[in-house]
Symmetry: C2
Subunit: 928 residues, 2 copies
Amino acid sequence: MAKKNVYFFGGGKAEGNAKMRNTLGGKGANLADMSSIGVPVPAGYTITTDMCIAYYDNGRKVSKALVDEATKSLKKVEKAMGKKFGCTENPLLLSIRSGARDSMPGMMDTVLNVGLTSKTIPGLIAKSGDERFVYDAYRRLITMYADVVMEKAEGIEPKDGESIRVTLEHVFDALKEKRGVTEDADLSAEDLKAISVEFKKIVKAKMGKAFPDNADKQLWGGIKAVFASWNGPRAIAYREIEGIPHEWGTAVNVQAMVFGNMGDTSATGVAFTRNPATGEDYFYGEWLINAQGEDVVAGIRTPLPLNKESKTSGTKKSKSMQELYPKTYKQLYNIRVKLEKHYKDMQDVEFTVEDGELWMLQTRTGKRTGGAAIRMAVEMAESKLISKEEALMRVDPEQLNELLHPMLTAAGEKKAKVLAKGLPAGPGAGVGRAVFTSEAAAEWAAKGEKVILVRNETSPEDVNGMHCSEGILTAKGGMTSHAALVARGWGKCCIVGCGELHIDAKKKQFTVGGKTYKEGAWLSMNGSAGILYKDQLAVQPAQPEKNKDYKKLMTWADATRQINVRTNAESPADAKQAIAFGAEGIGLARTEHMFFEPERIIHIRHMILSETLEERRKAVMKLLPFQKKDFTGIFKAMAGKPVTIRLLDPPLHEFLELDEKQIKELAKQLKVKPADIKKRMGQLHELNPMLGHRGCRLGIAYPEITEMQARAIIEAAADLTKKKIKVSPELMVPLVGHENELENQAAIIHRVAEEIQKAKKVKVNYTVGTMIEIPRACFVADKIAEHAEFFSFGTNDLTQMGFGYSRDDVGSFLPEYVSKGILPADPFQTLDQGGIGQLVELGVKNGRKTKSELKIGICGEHGGDPESVKFCHRTGLNYVSCSPFRVPIARLAAAQAAIETPRKAATKAKPKKKAAAKKKAAKKAKKK
Amino acid sequence: MAKKNVYFFGGGKAEGNAKMRNTLGGKGANLADMSSIGVPVPAGYTITTDMCIAYYDNGRKVSKALVDEATKSLKKVEKAMGKKFGCTENPLLLSIRSGARDSMPGMMDTVLNVGLTSKTIPGLIAKSGDERFVYDAYRRLITMYADVVMEKAEGIEPKDGESIRVTLEHVFDALKEKRGVTEDADLSAEDLKAISVEFKKIVKAKMGKAFPDNADKQLWGGIKAVFASWNGPRAIAYREIEGIPHEWGTAVNVQAMVFGNMGDTSATGVAFTRNPATGEDYFYGEWLINAQGEDVVAGIRTPLPLNKESKTSGTKKSKSMQELYPKTYKQLYNIRVKLEKHYKDMQDVEFTVEDGELWMLQTRTGKRTGGAAIRMAVEMAESKLISKEEALMRVDPEQLNELLHPMLTAAGEKKAKVLAKGLPAGPGAGVGRAVFTSEAAAEWAAKGEKVILVRNETSPEDVNGMHCSEGILTAKGGMTSHAALVARGWGKCCIVGCGELHIDAKKKQFTVGGKTYKEGAWLSMNGSAGILYKDQLAVQPAQPEKNKDYKKLMTWADATRQINVRTNAESPADAKQAIAFGAEGIGLARTEHMFFEPERIIHIRHMILSETLEERRKAVMKLLPFQKKDFTGIFKAMAGKPVTIRLLDPPLHEFLELDEKQIKELAKQLKVKPADIKKRMGQLHELNPMLGHRGCRLGIAYPEITEMQARAIIEAAADLTKKKIKVSPELMVPLVGHENELENQAAIIHRVAEEIQKAKKVKVNYTVGTMIEIPRACFVADKIAEHAEFFSFGTNDLTQMGFGYSRDDVGSFLPEYVSKGILPADPFQTLDQGGIGQLVELGVKNGRKTKSELKIGICGEHGGDPESVKFCHRTGLNYVSCSPFRVPIARLAAAQAAIETPRKAATKAKPKKKAAAKKKAAKKAKKK
């Protein structure tokens, strides 16, 4: 039997099902599924994603076999809907839509009202009794077809260089102006009929090809256009940002048209089964009377609220569907309940009411803000709709970012000048300078400026500019508009429907309240409340701890995860912030950051310029009191939690980067010749500093540095220990590639520690370990482990050396590597599990060969990346360490990892009590 | 039972044996061995190397247990020799010598004549009847003891700052001058007695401590001094150069003194059982009448020839031992035969004739030149003394270097001015500028100058300066002098005993034939003939193919080895040289070297500065004819042997390193603005170019480069193929870290090849493979192998990235790493088998997982390092590739590897015949 490539659905039946997402796309699978469970869905058929791939493989042609199979399905559709495609008497109109595995909202093309021809128009007028509606549909079809099929898919270039869509819209707007109306609905049937004729003339003149007056030609032109739009520039850009593989392809859904624009008993709308911005458990949506779906989504007309709960300050006076069509609303509400029960998740649905009859056009799992995701997950788990594990899996760890995002300060907002209010489409604070085009946003951002993208409405062409803005502000559109959907997906601050703004993109300015704001003007947005302020307001850190759902979810996560989460911090302030975010220790305190203050760096420079060991020692030891103070502060802040301190790592020339003037000053200060400073600078210059004299190579060449740092750490720890303050410093030797390096440095540390403990008569709880960040170290980790009490993988350097990529220079080829698909992702953002990950696994295996209980962690960028955290869990690491703001993300990712791949034995640090009990037991055993 | 720490030997017996080299040192083990086989050896005992380590561990003290054990052994010695130590009537005198596992000639200290005191002197005079001899021994003992024990070992600083040895020698020389004699032997007994008294006074005054008048004190002072000399600066320096571990320690040999200086019936000498410079099979040695052994080795008196064969142009009139003492010579000759039969190798022996009685003081395997090593190995194998395998193992591959060393040209020598003749102590040519101290040699060499070290005689203090000289030239000394021994060990050009030279080191000049030559004067040496020339002569390449023993040995090596040896070459000339040295193909042809000629680099620069793809393509394609010509030349030279061509590797900025003037010129030439060139230079600048935009990353960014190179290679190959000239190019893609990179580049190459083959209607025998030089590549080699027909390990880059060492910057810490023992060796010289080697093993394992027959080689510095070649054999590689001059070394090392660790299946390329036969068989099978 030949492979099935077309799947029918409709009339309470379906050939496909919800599991066939890869083949039918998300939309197709759900249409089949909805049809199966008795939700009223206009009949149709889905052409599989494989056919999209085949279309490209065949040089952008469709096979006869596919046409035959689709034609058979079309017969079933005709039967289910009681209409006939291309029929003069009771014609069936079709919609043609894309549908990929993962939703790509608005990124691909759609053609509606397919099947309207000079032959079918009279029949439809007779059947509907509404000539105006038919010609409205017809002029829409002509516009869409000319744009999507002819210009975009077939690649016809309009003769005058202006896009056909723009030309037709201008003609349409001119007619409205001529008639003195603002709403499309105020144009008469005659007007629309006349304009259809004119449209067809313009198409033929501009495109050199007539709009096809044949239903079948329209159908297959539309289908091919949807296939083609998979590789449209917008779709490609979106996939690259979202990480969707280019080889998936899109399915095509051909479905009977139902009309929301057949007069005042028709309507169309979009709804979410819960509020996608807040997660609140009520039906939430927007609708428009006498309109087609695109009118709602495109954000051109501000839609009406679906019900009481959907009303906002801007729409509180508008009539809701609940009020106007109570019966149909009730029917829709019941479908909402049915869908949530069936899918066990919040759904995003599209519906149309055609002359009082409700049709569901689409359902899919709805995008949501991070806050909403958390609330829904927790509430669904508490109401037993899903399990706690499912709730934890339901929240993308990256979504926590939104809750952890900074907010405007209440005090700042109180004093600030409100410019306008709009719909709160994306939470958090957005502070930046106004720009009016996507290109400008990208340019300013590239210069390091923070920008707010200000648009009448956004379109898929704007995704790049939106991505690099701090906030997105639109004058038009609703909560389900393009801008709102995209911003929410990214967790970005966004306000839409801010109608008070008068935007003139050409002049690069907007006017509000009689005042004009030009490009570059500072704006501040409260995306959670939808308020736009003048000027650059202060921003306060996130306070996720005030969100009870977040707290509950994180409690579940902590109970579930099997590895610890630490933070990278060098100051008591950072340490405190991280503890507030749930950090269980410091995994990386970089000591070199402590050297750059003027009163300190002078000693480092003196050290570098010293001629004798004696002089060098003296200079280094002047840093001791500073370092001791640093460590005392951190130890106090961490209150006994482990603190991993990395000894000096960067090459010395980083401390001696001076211009002529600075050289003169330094020479004066240190009483040396400027020429000697220059000479030393020359000596320290390296061709490849990444691979040069740094890390423990410094400590071996200048043991006095290691000694000073060890002394500062152990003395600070000893003094606190004497005051009964718990400390647990972990001294970490960087850049070890050979066991002898660690042996050499550990010997210095242990000697210093012994001296201090003897002198101060106190036992200090300290350990010595190493970074594993040199590829060679992974191979000899068994030998290195003989001298180490812990390992911490430095996956940044491991990636640099393992790939042979200098992170500073990778910009010249890495972006192209990712866009060409040579690499699936930037390995500095997400750990390259297939390659660098094997180095980590090898290091773990070898290290534990020598010490089965060896404590192993990871520090650096990857420690906060969810996929990398999961990898660390699977590889048996004890902890990850990341920046304070990513600690909650790592906690949740670790919990998800434990759910996906539970480990036999938990390697998370045991609670103190148990450890103490164990010790007691061991003592008892000894006594026996 | 307590561990035995002292081993007696003598009187035809021995407690130790030859296998106890690690415990007894080379000398001690051989003394025991010789004693066992009936060679007359003065009795003695050996203190083990463990006791040396214990001496250091005990804070430089010897234990009472050791003293007791040694005292017992001393009794046996007294019994065997019929004398008593410290006895007034028939006193035994002792020598105390060092003896490490591996010979360290002259690097440690010796004390002779121990046991002479005011009590024993009268007895010895009475017994020997020779007062002069006794006081001569006594003044020698005082000098040595004061120098070796008091100043060096005990660390006493002479009060006047001048070394005690120098002071005493001045006093002795002054006496000779006063007496008007030049030879020590011309001083009377009275003189020597008086000077002994004076010596003792001087010692007490300068050193603040009396010379001990107690035999036991002398004995233990001497033993401790030998222990101490293990860590003397000379010994440490020598061990670092030779790679001898510092923790081995030295044994101490305490042995009955026998005297070569008891008048004209006494003598002392040094001999080799074969000629150590040429390998010729005759007894070869030097001797002095009425002298102690140090007189021969120190090179102060030019020694006499042992026999007819040992006579040289300089000594042809001197009487030989054969002539003067025929009976004793016969006895010595028989011992020569016995020793060679016993040890199956050439021996280096020391002997003394005491009043007509022959004593052997030492035997050890003799150092030899490379040529001698080969000749001896081949001749011993042919005479069945050893097997062919033993013969192959007998030659250190590095020794071949000497044969491969350049020689002065015959024409040049004919015309050149001969300055002097001396003994040919080290073969090959040495051309450089005269320097007169070891320090000067090091300084000049550091500046990049080639130097000849000119000395009256060398001493162990000179080893550093000798090592960095092109040649060593001494006025005094014989073929067994310090200079000769050391130079021969290193395969360095050396002439000794060049008595016509009058050297004034203070004035930095020498005079010969009435003319004076100052520091910096150019000299040329023929070390194989012992001739010194004026000026800088031309040097010709080595012609090892004219040496029949070498040819025989290499034939055996080729029959034995299981891997192929290729060469790294970029020109037809290099290729031909390498074939002459036995290369079986080119393993690495670096194409970037072909781009630097002015008429070529302009196109590369044009390419780099191009604004459009079109322009860039055009510029690149201009290189096509040049490259095609290059490859045609190489293919012809290699006559069908495989040629691996690496595609462009270095970052583009290497082609655009210009100063202001060059920028202006280039701007004019290319008709661009200088500012644009500067801008592009700035864009190309990289912080870590090693890890930047290079290798296949270039070919991916600029596919036209890959296309051009592929086209040049395949077109050249196609044209030759059409002319029935065999070619087998292997296109190698550099710096692959991800399989997609190779897939991308291989696709371009295969497409181009297809086009050319179609257009030219010819099938080209080519393959596509990759360098494995990125650590990540080793982990994913299975995936990479899917697109590769061969691998070649780039162990240079693998070492750089695996260790995180930039070879350009490693100078700041690597020497210290090696000297501190953090690393055993420079990993860029010898492959780090423990770390980087594991990467190679992993790459091989993974690659062969996908393709079990995958051809795998290595190219780069390590391919010619014997230890690394052996590693490659063991790891299952098919070939190594190295510079032409190292090809023979690699061939021999590969043979040794096959002897040490034979592989099951040979992976060396099969002879063509077999391959052809295989094909035929396959065809036949198909027909069936």
